[in-house]
Assembly symmetry: C2
Homo-oligomer: 347 residues x 2
């Protein structure tokens, strides 16, 4: 079917070994032979058989990317950036959607790593520690965690390598501080948080950060209401409905994720509330069209390009046998017009 090394060897009048050596630039072949071999190879349009090469060299030049959902604009952009960087180095990217489901995630990990489909995996962990991650770690798989760290609690002897897994993520502390300052400065005293699942490390962390920022500005913790969603748009809608149902609903809402922010916006609008006149809203993540929303959404933007670069840098380091550090890149608060003073301030 396809062109094999044997065909080139035959045409060039040399052995397969020589062809291989020539193509790989090994100095054991003469310059003349190399040139002849290469000429024939690309005249025939030779492409090495990926499976054979992988089998022999135990390296696939492919990387796995497990995200919770590529349709989430944040992960879509991240995936695109990562693919481009990987392609530039000759790596393929195998895309996987875990749908925030730990079992599916583990299935992918096992398929990709245990079956040696890829040389390494970049994982957006769905939830905390799972058997699959544990197994991958035990097998000393090359893995970098994206966007979310995972807690090491309860897992005994593994913590050493767990700590060695590089994490690449945005750090929202500063931006979240600005959010608190902004909202409290505008006069909001009851704030609703549409949080991530509190079963995840990132969920608890972002929640604590937010709460810390608000109380740090002098707000009582009791003035903050929290409802957790699950990263999906619909859960953002539900969360807002729950918050609105409280006897004294918040006047400002902060979503911990881009899609949930969209959902929150939908629910608020459906409830007849106008943003920012009646309520204020702050989102997370950013997209080119966020400023075309009604109203343009104030949001905590993650540095996606840098995140992708850092992730690939870590991956390369891992492949080179190094132990890359964890990376946290600071997020920026993008001020648009979805925040204003609370309605009581009008009256």
């Amino acid at each position: 079917m396809a062109v094999r090394m044997r065909d080139i060897a035959r045409l060039a009048g040399v052995s397969e070994a020589t062809v291989s050596l020539a193509l790989s630039g090994n100095s054991r072949v003469s310059e003349a032979t190399r040139r002849r071999v290469i000429a024939i190879a690309d005249e025939l349009g030779y492409r090495p058989n990926a499976a054979a090469r992988s089998l022999r060299t135990d390296s696939t030049r492919a990387l796995g990317l497990v995200v919770s959902d590529v349709a989430n604009p944040f992960f879509a952009e991240l995936a695109g950036r990562i693919e481009r960087i990987a392609a530039a180095q000759g790596y393929s990217v195998v895309l996987c959607n875990s749908d925030e489901d730990a079992a599916r995630q583990d299935g992918y990990l096992s398929r990709l790593l245990a079956g040696s489909e890829v040389d390494g995996v970049m994982l957006v962990p769905a939830g905390g520690m799972t058997p699959g991650i544990l197994a991958a770690g035990a097998a000393r798989a090359r893995m970098v965690l994206l966007d979310r760290p995972i807690a090491a609690d309860g897992v005994g002897g593994v913590s050493e390598w767990l700590r060695a897994i590089p994490v690449v993520r945005g750090s929202g502390a500063a931006a979240l501080g600005e959010v608190a300052e902004l909202l409290i400065g505008l006069g909001h005293r009851r704030i609703g948080i549409i949080a991530l699942p509190q079963t995840t490390q990132i969920g608890r962390e972002r929640h604590d950060m937010m709460l810390g920022a608000l109380t740090g500005q002098g707000l009582a913790a009791s003035a903050v209401e929290v409802v957790s969603g699950d990263f999906r748009q619909h859960s953002g809608e539900l969360a807002v409905e729950r918050l609105l149902a409280s006897p004294n609903p918040p006047t400002a809402y902060v979503a911990a994720d881009g899609l949930m922010a969209i959902g929150a916006m939908k629910a608020l609008r459906r409830a007849g509330l106008r943003i920012p006149r009646d309520v204020s809203l702050v989102g997370y993540d950013d997209a080119p069209w966020f400023d075309l929303l009604d109203p343009p959404l104030t949001t905590v933007a993650q540095p996606v390009v840098e995140l992708a670069e850092a992730a690939m840098r870590s991956m390369y380091a891992l492949l080179a046998g190094e132990t890359p550090p964890t990376t946290a890149l600071t997020c920026q608060l993008v001020r648009r017009s979805s925040c204003g003073p609370p309605p009581d301030a009008h009256s």
Copy 2:
């Protein structure tokens, strides 16, 4: 490193061949042996080595997906859907971003197919016929075209297999007819089209459809101004700027692509025009957040889920040696509020 068949064989006290047979459910092994082998296999967490299996069976259980950009919401959703369907059948998806660049696309095709990295490719062609597609066809690669057909002009003897390549796409004719009816019904008499590159078959086609729909409603062809973009948001902005610069700018705009519609919206707003009061805008493709835009965007929505399903159905048929037909799924006009009467109708 990983568990190999040999390890299972040793523990089970049988040959590797028996293990392979047992695991594949071949009837040449006794029920008792099969059970023992399977038990040991999953106790050890055995995963077949993908490279070895591919090499031997000449099938990778992986599919290539070449899109122009996953960050485009339409392709992101398509990619996600496709991945999910593929995963359910045990197929991996290798993601590639061509960036609408024919050379990059051909590079991917060659890598994926000639190197037998994948069993088949689903391609959103960037432009028309290219050497890479030609080569893939000559090598009788399994390929399905997504979203866009390619013209067969100028390519001699290849047209037979070219015609046999299944294309899975949305058909916007009916919806575009409704768009024409809507805009002309509202009173618009000067319409701007933000078209796709006219070098692509899909670009010319969508353009002709749009123009045909408008003239079919009695509009003079001279009343329609066309500026081509390149699928990207920025080109949508430029196109609108160009159209606005004309002595008598259109009162309604139709974008042939989702991202360009976003760009158009930005440019219109930047020009101080309000939608739909001053100008009307119709987009292409849809996303969950299109109705949160300011104003909610009227658009021609492609049936993404069905597109993904049809694409995978075609791929499976191809893998089974069949010759699936081309599929065209009808798009729906989603009426929201970005269209209104032209401003002259006010005065």
